[in-house]
């Protein structure tokens, strides 16, 4: 049995909203699991059920071999970092860290030892006597993590902890969280709506949509092999391009080009997905892109343009290339780097 086991977990709110549908998931010890999805998809609800802050309507949650459905949050031995940190405003940093330990009846010397160790690890030793209101966003973030670490819980739960930080700090903290988790080795679940955060942090990723796990796997598996239209559109930045097409007898016909010998027996209307980074310029390419806008990122350019009636088609070109508005580019798709989805169900067919 794995460390954390969710079996057919369902959440229905009293007003009838079904937030989580019969979700099953196993997380092994020491693993960093990320739940990613758009807002309102049920990822936070799922996390809060693990924490015990939401009742479980149906299904079982097992943590470390113990059924915890009915266990009080305070007895579950889980620690959570909240989006707004939820630091205790009237306590200084030291007491913020020590509070959970005091409630567990640990003696003063041990508490001091543990708090100081955690503070050192997070480089907040200098602020131990300060109140949270006197700290910057990044420091508060560290304190919130310190409060989780100091208790040495069975599992860390992160509920979008980086979304209140500015872009630069977010990237820095992202790195620190990952390093810290590797150092401490505690099983973690991290909830985010930011797919870059999800990709960079996760050992494994669960892409959630409408209360259902659409796909579960390592970030690179999901990137390379999205199983549904939703996952394909959600993971990857900039977003995958989608084109309407028809698939008949292993031949795909889109607006003005065809691809032959497709490895699929599906016939009918489909959606073709191509990532901007899987396009290459070549003479007599399949696609003629009329450039409308170029975003220069330095390392590469994001070129947006039009193919016939399709607008905002994106192509990622090397940064040293000079492309101007009004140019027409001839593009090819890298070999087998395209995805075909059933238009009605959104399921992958190739």
């Amino acid at each position: 049995m794995s460390f954390l086991d969710l079996k057919n977990v369902t959440k229905i709110y009293p007003n009838g909203t079904k937030a989580v549908h019969e979700t099953s998931l196993s997380i092994s010890e020491g693993e960093f699991m990320v739940f990613v999805g758009p807002s309102g998809c049920g990822k936070s609800t799922l996390l809060r059920m693990v924490a015990g802050l939401e009742d479980i309507t149906e299904g079982d949650i097992n943590l470390d071999g113990q059924l915890i459905n009915e266990v009080d949050p305070s007895e579950r031995d889980v620690a959570m970092v909240f989006q707004n940190y939820a630091l205790y405003p009237h306590m200084n940093v030291y007491n913020n860290l020590a509070y959970g330990l005091k409630n567990r009846g640990i003696d003063k010397e041990t508490i001091e030892q543990k708090v100081n160790d955690a503070a050192k690890l997070l480089q907040i030793s200098d602020f131990l006597q300060r109140k949270p209101s006197m700290l910057s966003g990044g420091q508060r973030q560290r304190v919130a993590m310190g409060r989780a670490i100091v208790r040495n819980p069975k599992i860390f739960l992160f509920d979008e902890p980086l979304s209140n930080l500015d872009a630069k700090l977010r990237i820095q903290m992202r790195l620190e969280i990952k390093k810290l988790q590797q150092k401490v080795g505690v099983t973690s679940i991290f909830v985010t709506h930011d797919q870059v955060e999800a990709m960079t942090l996760a050992d494994r990723l669960a892409v959630i949509n409408n209360g259902i796990i659409e796909q579960l796997g390592t970030p690179i598996e999901i990137y390379n092999n999205p199983e549904s239209l939703f996952v394909a559109g959600f993971i990857g930045s900039p977003q995958m391009n989608f084109l309407d097409a028809n698939l008949n007898n292993k031949t795909l016909s889109a607006e003005n080009f065809e691809i032959k010998n497709i490895d699929s027996d599906y016939n009918g209307e489909v959606t073709l997905g191509i990532r901007p980074e899987h396009l290459i310029e070549s003479e007599n390419g399949l696609i003629n892109l009329k450039v409308e806008l170029v975003e220069q990122l330095g390392s590469d350019n994001l070129v947006y343009g039009q193919i016939k009636n399709i607008k905002d088609f994106c192509y990622r070109s090397p940064g040293n290339q000079i492309i101007k508005k009004g140019d027409t580019l001839s593009l090819n798709i890298e070999e087998n780097k395209y995805y075909i989805f059933d238009k009605s169900t959104g399921k992958r067919v190739n």
Binding site: L53, M80, N84, G100, R104, R151
Partner: protein, 283 residues
């Protein structure tokens, strides 16, 4: 800096306000330092006289009342105990009931809150006979318990605490829960320290409310040792002197001045928190 006409008008209004507040107190104090005879013949005074120590000494130490058993000092102590008891219990009870109303999600929380709120329309004076009946049946007349107990519920304070607790983010409770806090420790470790300015403000209001109670102690106490300052003001110097003697106006003024001191002290000590509690919340 140029002074605008509007500012002058504003200051004049403020100065009039200050005079209206301060003058009566000053007249009381000035008059309390004169002899009874001179007040009787010449009216109230704006200047200080020379009888300060005599009058105040007499007020504090002379025995009064029907059987001449109680001194003003004793009445101050009684009022202080009563006000302290009422204020402390009112704050504690309303903080706890607001906690229950906000954090225990039972269906009747809102109706119960409004029921409590409606009691604002039924002050003690309206329910004074039933209250007296209950207290006397319990044998609590002529006791501090009897003076305090019927006044310890407060809809106002419950309302303020409830509104304050509602502004505390849910994450704080959730985080505390994960840190192993139970219902009681969340109240003591979080809500009480977070609302301490509020508690101070409520305490002042309730202290003054308790201190200035008149009707309830008047019908509650027959034994002079439980008399309070405000009721004593009416009784102490009239009943004990019959007709022949001069009205003891100067001593009464001295008594009034002394009676103001305890609430003023409470306000002075708690005012920093009091103002904070009214204008901001520490979050």
């Amino acid at each position: 800096m140029k002074i605008k006409p509007l500012q002058i008008v504003a200051h004049i209004i403020l100065i009039i306000g200050v005079l209206l507040m301060v003058l009566p107190i000053w007249i009381s104090f000035a008059s309390s330092t004169h002899e009874n005879v001179s007040i009787l013949t010449e009216g109230m005074r704006f200047t200080l006289g020379d009888q300060f120590s005599r009058n105040y000494n007499e007020v504090l130490n002379e025995k009064g009342g029907w059987s001449e058993e109680v001194t003003a000092a004793k009445m101050f102590i009684n009022s202080f105990i009563m006000a302290l008891g009422i204020a402390t219990l009112k704050v504690a009870i309303s903080a706890m009931s607001a906690y229950a109303l906000v954090y225990y999600r039972f269906k009747l929380a809102v109706p119960i809150f409004w029921l409590i709120f409606i009691t604002l329309l039924v002050p003690l004076e309206v329910r004074i006979f039933p209250s007296y009946k209950i207290v006397s049946d319990l044998g609590l007349t002529n006791s501090y318990t009897g003076l305090i107990l019927p006044l310890v519920a407060s809809a106002t304070a419950t309302f303020f605490f409830r509104q304050f607790y509602k502004t505390i983010p849910d994450e704080l409770l959730e985080s505390a829960k994960l840190d192993g806090a139970n219902a009681w420790s969340f109240f003591i470790d979080f809500l009480v320290p977070l609302s301490k300015t509020m508690i101070a403000a409520m305490f002042i209001f309730m202290f003054v409310y308790g201190y200035s109670q008149y009707l309830w102690p008047l019908i509650m106490t027959t034994a002079e040792e439980y008399w309070t300052v405000v009721m004593g003001m009416k009784i102490i110097y009239t009943e004990s002197y019959e007709g022949v003697a001069l009205p003891r106006t100067a001593e009464r003024f001295a008594y009034i001045i002394l009676s103001m001191i305890p609430p003023v002290l409470v306000v002075v000590f708690l005012q920093k928190w009091f103002i904070k509690g009214l204008i901001q919340t520490e979050k």
